[in-house]
């Protein structure tokens, strides 16, 4: 039964958290300690974090700043931003060589004129597919048609599709059908009843909880996921199990 207070019933890893400041305004969390306090308030055990600088300015610099967000307990899982340019891919390869890459996140190159198509991304996507490194892809930064084409061209790529909104209602099923390895992150996806419908259609393994904090509050989607027709096992997979599998984390780590 719902109550005035909420805490999750299952372990939770937030798959989508941004650190650092945007030009639109400072982040409410200026340190790992503040972010961990926010996670504690909402019952979130761990979070996958990337740096704001990596979104649209510099993935390599963003990744350097991200190092400042390592916490002592290992609750913050670093996600490196990447663009299909030599300097960025070299940085990721170097980090990978040291065993530090669990996932990467696509830097926005579409707004600079590079469509997300195989001719522009082949080296990067071949490397990620061969290395088994999952790629987080913000839907707002790629054309749907390009994404479908590219997902089909790299069937071994583990893609996590970020930020589907109700304006994506017509394309979400097509995206999930384009690649059996594609996973949908749920921070913005609110069409009524759609989480249950999608889980029924594609299975719980294709979805992960993310908040996209601090763009969005950390709690509401987590609350939502705890008040659906899904079973406890499905809930546990969406809230943590699937992202543990994607990142190669031990269960409950």
């Amino acid at each position: 039964m719902p109550s005035l207070n909420f805490s999750p019933r299952v372990p939770v890893i937030d798959a989508n958290v941004c650190v650092g400041n945007h030009h639109t305004g400072p982040s409410p969390c200026q340190s790992p300690a503040q972010l961990l306090e926010e996670m504690d308030f909402h019952g979130v055990r761990r979070a996958v974090i990337y740096h704001a600088q990596g979104e649209q300015i510099s993935p390599t610099d963003g990744n350097k700043y991200l190092e400042d967000w390592l916490d002592d307990e290992g609750r913050l899982i670093l996600q490196w931003s990447v663009a299909p340019v030599e300097i960025s891919m070299e940085q990721i390869a170097e980090l990978h060589g040291r065993g530090r890459v669990r996932s990467v996140r696509l830097h926005d190159c579409q707004s600079a004129g590079l469509p997300f198509l195989p001719w522009g991304y082949d080296d990067l996507l071949t490397f990620l597919s061969d290395a088994g490194i999952p790629l987080w892809i913000p839907l707002m930064d790629v054309e749907t048609d390009h994404l479908v084409t590219t997902l089909k061209a790299y069937p071994d790529l583990h893609a996590v599709l970020i930020g589907a909104h109700y304006t994506h209602a017509l394309v979400v099923r097509g995206l999930l059908e384009a690649s059996s390895r594609a996973v949908l992150e749920l921070s913005r996806y609110e069409p009524i009843g759609e989480v249950e419908a999608l889980v029924e259609r594609f299975g719980a393994d294709r979805f992960v909880y993310g908040s996209w904090y601090p763009r969005y509050a950390m709690g509401p989607i987590l609350f939502y996921l705890h008040h659906t027709r899904m079973g406890e096992d499905e809930l546990a997979r969406i809230c943590a199990g699937n992202v543990e599998r994607l990142l190669g984390l031990e269960e409950g780590a």
Binding site: F6, G219, F223, T228
Partner: protein, 249 residues
């Protein structure tokens, strides 16, 4: 019902907009409402400018589950001759207790002349009006500062609370100045700290939970209230007590 508080969702729709996944199947709405303890949802149909077509569809929808849904009247100044007669019909014959207005579907900011007959009607009846508000010229919450003192028997509700910080500040400022301005919470923007800001600056007695269902699922939207850093008393007021007072239900 949540912890003994009757929950009223102040912002919902009848009508379909399939391209965005919006489908007004009663079972879909009721299933989501039941999952989180929403007792009553206020609904309106804004897709027909004549008002009559949508209001009849709303009445039909509500009649299937009269204990769970409350209909609001919709009219548009783009069909000015029909506005007041349709309001009279919707309030007196269909039994709707409040009005919904949607300025983006018109050429006029909502403090301009074409809208005034609606406010005069609401003033006579002592009705609440919920407005779509945002940062675009037709829907700025700052217009409440013109209307609230001019129509003191009308309760003005800022839907989405302006959506973005600049417009939200206008809505809060109006609520601070006038006791008949209310702040409704639904928004696809779920910015951290917004519910706390509304309660702290606008007052817990002015905040109304709304979801925009079925365009959006009511569960994450009510989750904004439940997971906010506000007191249990403030949650109870936002979730239902304020709406019950406003609608006298």
């Amino acid at each position: 019902m949540i912890d003994g508080t009757r929950v009223i969702d102040y912002h919902g729709h009848v009508g379909r907009w399939e391209r965005y996944g919006m489908v007004d199947e009663p079972e879909l709405l009721l299933g989501a409402m039941d999952a989180v303890g929403i007792d009553i949802a206020c609904l309106f149909h804004i897709f027909h400018p004549d008002g009559t077509t949508g209001n009849d569809l709303t009445a039909k929808f509500v009649a299937r589950n009269p204990d769970r849904f409350v209909g609001f009247a919709y009219v548009s100044p783009t069909m000015p001759d029909r506005m007041v007669p349709e309001l009279e019909r919707a309030i007196d014959k269909l039994g709707f207790p409040a009005i919904k207005l949607y300025p983006p579907y018109t050429p006029w900011p909502f403090n301009e002349e074409p809208w005034l007959p609606i406010y005069e009607f609401a003033q006579d009846r002592g009705l609440a009006i919920i407005f779509h508000t945002d940062h675009f010229i037709n829907s700025r919450p700052r217009y409440f500062e013109d209307l609230a003192p001019a129509y003191p028997r009308v309760n003005f509700v800022s839907a989405h609370c302006g959506n973005v910080p600049e417009a939200r500040a206008e809505a809060i400022a109006a609520a601070q100045k006038y006791p008949n301005v209310y702040l409704e919470t639904c928004s696809t923007y779920r910015t951290p700290g917004v519910i706390e800001e509304l309660v702290e600056k606008g007052g817990a007695d002015r905040v109304l939970y709304g979801s925009d269902m079925p365009l959006m699922d009511p569960r994450p939207q009510i989750g904004k209230i439940i997971t906010a850093r506000i007191s249990p008393e403030a949650k109870r007021m936002a979730l239902g007590e304020n709406a019950a007072r406003l609608l006298n239900i």
